[in-house]
Symmetry: C2
Subunit: 229 residues, 2 copies
């Protein structure tokens, strides 16, 4: 039986709302496997078989994928507490679609698909919480992607700007707000070039619809802004 909880584990939203004591029981039930890797070791290789969620305990690792033109592209970097594979483990996918490589000496704890759903004879409340958390994580991802698709589907830059500013407007609940992005990031988020974004924004300013300075925005005429949507 596990004796102590790795602090990286506590960072994972997968175990949110589960006490240390419960987590010990849960680990006993999940019987996870921990492996250690040296710098540059492969943690998972694209195309190899796959049945677990992984959580990085310490170290650092990169997730990369071969794109259609045959180049390997780093998609993301994993830090202690980062989870990977959670979107695929219940999708029917049996092979890794990306390669994960340790960039420093690292350790990963693997939670098997079947054990997550539960093999322990009785339903433990912490196990239910685990499943709830997993459902929440994947649902939130799907919702986020759905929103991203909405933005990307808008064709005109002004339409994107309007949608973006309305989103901020309604989350801040005020017509003046500061966005948490630089222009370059905003341009990347909206999938347009930075000069084009600046040009369209200044046109909207000329029209008296919005005003802004750096990251501080003010919506002057919400009705006309709406028309761009």
């Amino acid at each position: 039986m596990h004796k102590e909880i790795d602090p990286a584990i506590r960072k994972s939203p997968l175990f949110a709302g589960i006490s240390d004591q419960e987590l010990l029981y849960l680990m006993n039930c999940l019987r996870p496997k921990t492996y250690t890797y040296k710098r540059n070791d492969y943690i998972a290789v694209e195309g190899s078989s796959f049945d677990s969620i992984g959580i990085l305990l310490y170290g650092e690792a990169t997730v990369s994928k071969e794109n259609a033109s045959g180049n390997r592209v780093i998609i993301s970097t994993l830090k202690p507490g980062s989870m990977f594979g959670e979107m695929f483990v219940f999708s029917g996918q049996t092979l890794w679609l990306s390669t994960i490589q340790a960039q420093k000496n690292s350790a990963v704890i693997f939670l098997q698909r079947d054990k997550i759903i539960g093999e322990c004879g009785n339903v433990c409340p912490w196990h239910k919480k685990l499943i709830w958390n997993l459902l929440k994580i994947i649902s939130d991802r799907a919702i986020m992607l759905n929103k991203k698709v909405e933005y990307l589907t808008i064709k005109s830059i002004k339409g994107k700007i309007a949608a973006f500013l309305f989103e901020q407007y309604s989350t801040f609940g005020s017509s003046t707000f500061v966005i948490p992005m630089k222009r370059k990031e905003m341009a990347e988020f909206l999938n347009v070039s930075r000069p084009s974004l600046s040009r369209e924004m200044s046109r909207m300013r000329d029209e008296g619809i919005i005003d802004y300075h750096m990251s501080a925005f003010k919506i002057l005429d919400p009705d006309r802004l709406k028309k761009y949507l």
Copy 2:
């Protein structure tokens, strides 16, 4: 206790791999609530509280959403067996984000969040299967959306065509294949206009990279096709 299984229920992937007999037990455990609606009745109203997945048993209903400019837009139409709310029920979302309205006399069976995770004392195998199915459905949606984002992020039409054809190429495993779409659908999928799609495709044909007739395609020069990615 439920005595029989509604045939619409059987269509839902949520209950895939669960036998009729098991499904009866499961229903006893889930204790779903069924409501009937007359044409034009509201099944759910944007902003009202929310704790269940719904499955349409018979009839027809529309899912609509108010966009930022204040117009109501129909997102999808539900048919018998269609599920709704599954992406939100475990997301922490407590209010409906869309309005669902019956278009014909309809009935809906609601499965409560808490009951799905399981309140029955012992773990029944069919209950595990249910959770597995739900995880699979939401994961598949997230994966699909992820792929969609990949396509939408590509800026040039030729790039989109190349990515699309490579995808078909690798799934069919052959350089000749028939796609399951008409031009109009393909254009919508890639988020471009149909004439623009035709123009770019015929340019690529002129260049000797691909050949096609209606829905039948042939990749002539994969290497040059790759360069568009």
